[in-house]
Amino acid sequence: MINRIADIGRGGLNLIEAYGKAGILLYRILFRWPRITKNFYYVVQQIFAEGVLSLSIIVVSGLFIGMVLALQGHHTLVKFGASMELGPLVALSVLRELGPVVTAILFAGRAGSALAAEIGLMKATDQLSSMEMMAVDPIARIVSPRLWGGFISLPLLTLIFNVTAIYGAWMIGVQWLGFDSGAFWSNMQSSVDFHVDVVNGIWKSVVFGFVVTLIAVYQGYFAEPTSAGIARATTRTVVYGSLAVLALDFVLTAMMIGGW
């Protein structure tokens, strides 16, 4: 009994410690950023590594999700005689929910795990230590550009996902099921609000980008410097990253719909 209480206490303390360490890491990333011009180059490099290299998976997933959504949507809408609403259905579900959430989860799997493994391995092979001994701060030089790279990439990837998903739905709806293309677009246009639907979706992806990348660099930077430790760090990045995205999605949606 006492042991169980002690376990709960220990778990709680570990959790608080993890938040504290993440907070300190974040502070050091944000407030010790020397030579912005030089780091700009590294941020661009990371946007390439995290964003551009994730493009293919984002585009392919977006296309398929849009196509499936169109088929399923059509199947259901027909029953209510509302098949003309296919465009709005797809656009709203992609822009408001699926785009930001699915992109963030894919991003955690593709870029987040790579980040955690890369930073963890640099730590395990003394690369971070030797950088410190050369008077170069690994947080400014390695961790910070990676966090900014992810923060900038994810919203852009989300936009691209949105576009390809809607394109996929258009292919199914118009090319295959034979809807009128004009009606598809104009129905969509009249029911999608730029601020409420598009911008709010992007806001979500901004938050997700920040959280997922922070989890990834945190897991990498504090990984135990062994092969098992790095394996754990990558797994945790994907698991915690995805869970954080889903939980935050609920909170953000509640805030947006509740009009806070």
Binding site: R32, L121, M122, T125, D126, Q127, S129, S130, M131, E132, M133, M134, A135, V136, D137, R141
Partner: protein, 271 residues
């Protein structure tokens, strides 16, 4: 004697196990000082304490008059620019080529033009005999080559102090000879204060001006190589001559053998 590094009554623990219990060491400016001792006594740890990557439990390490653990990060980084350190594992950046690895500190800390960087990098690589390997990636190097590249990188900024952690492991007799000569030349021509951590008794004694032997958390012997070789106190002589029997324990602390085996046979071991 003018000391660059002064270590005063240093105590340090790792996971509750004492690594140093009151170590005093002085490293004179411009000399080659060797730190020797059995594996696992904390030689690498000592270098990390000097470099400010670890904090002492008590006591202090001062480099050029700066007490390392009291410095702010900016001050610490200023002091570290004058230090080069060769890690036991090399610590090369695996995403950069040999050339870029050596150029890294130059690009980070100087405003030199590309052609000057190239000249310096090739000069440093020439010193370690790897000018021709500049296009290779670290994964394409052997262990001994990687250490030599790391050495070239450590001296790229012409530091005042250089710390070598086991520079001789993994070197064949030829490159070993070259390295010994290189370490001595860097010391003589540039007046580079040098700390060498090594197990290799003959080679280390041949280049060191002064030697500290640590074991069991303390300095067990110090002096010039000649003085040490004359000293035949148990621990020191055992280490220098590599005898397995003697006061220095070869085993990591453990319960005595009989107890361990009895536990095993009774099936209550937690292994």
């Amino acid at each position: 004697m003018d000391s660059l590094i002064k270590i005063d009554n240093l105590h340090f623990n790792r996971n509750g196990r004492a690594i140093f219990t009151g170590v005093n060491i002085e490293i004179p400016r411009g000399k080659i000082v060797a730190i020797m001792g059995p594996s696992g006594t904390g030689k690498t740890t000592l270098l990390r304490l000097i470099g400010g990557q670890l904090r002492p439990l008590s006591g202090q390490v001062s480099v050029d008059g700066n007490i390392i653990h009291r410095l702010s990060q900016a001050e610490l980084y200023r002091v570290r620019r004058q230090m080069g350190m060769l890690f036991q594992t090399g610590g090369l950046f695996t995403h950069l080529s040999v050339f870029e690895n050596v150029a890294f500190p130059l690009r980070e800390h100087t405003q030199l033009t590309e052609s000057m960087i190239r000249t310096i990098v090739l000069m440093k690589l020439q010193m370690v005999g790897l000018r021709g390997a500049r296009h290779l990636m670290p994964s394409e190097l052997s262990g001994g080559m990687a250490r030599r590249v790391a050495l070239a990188r450590a001296i790229a900024l012409d530091p005042d102090l250089i710390m070598y952690d086991e520079p001789f492991t993994g070197q064949d007799p030829i490159s070993m000879g070259v390295l010994v000569r290189l370490i001595r030349d860097l010391n003589k021509t540039l007046g580079l204060t040098t700390i060498i951590v090594s197990h290799d008794v003959p080679d280390t004694l041949s280049i060191a001006d002064y030697v500290y032997v640590i074991s069991g958390g303390n300095v067990i012997g110090a002096g010039t190589p000649d003085e040490l070789q004359k000293n035949d106190s148990g621990e020191l002589a055992q280490f220098l001559h590599g005898n397995s029997d003697g006061p220095v324990a070869f085993h990591y602390p453990a319960p005595d053998l009989a107890t361990d085996f009895i536990e095993l046979s009774e099936g209550n071991s937690n292994l």
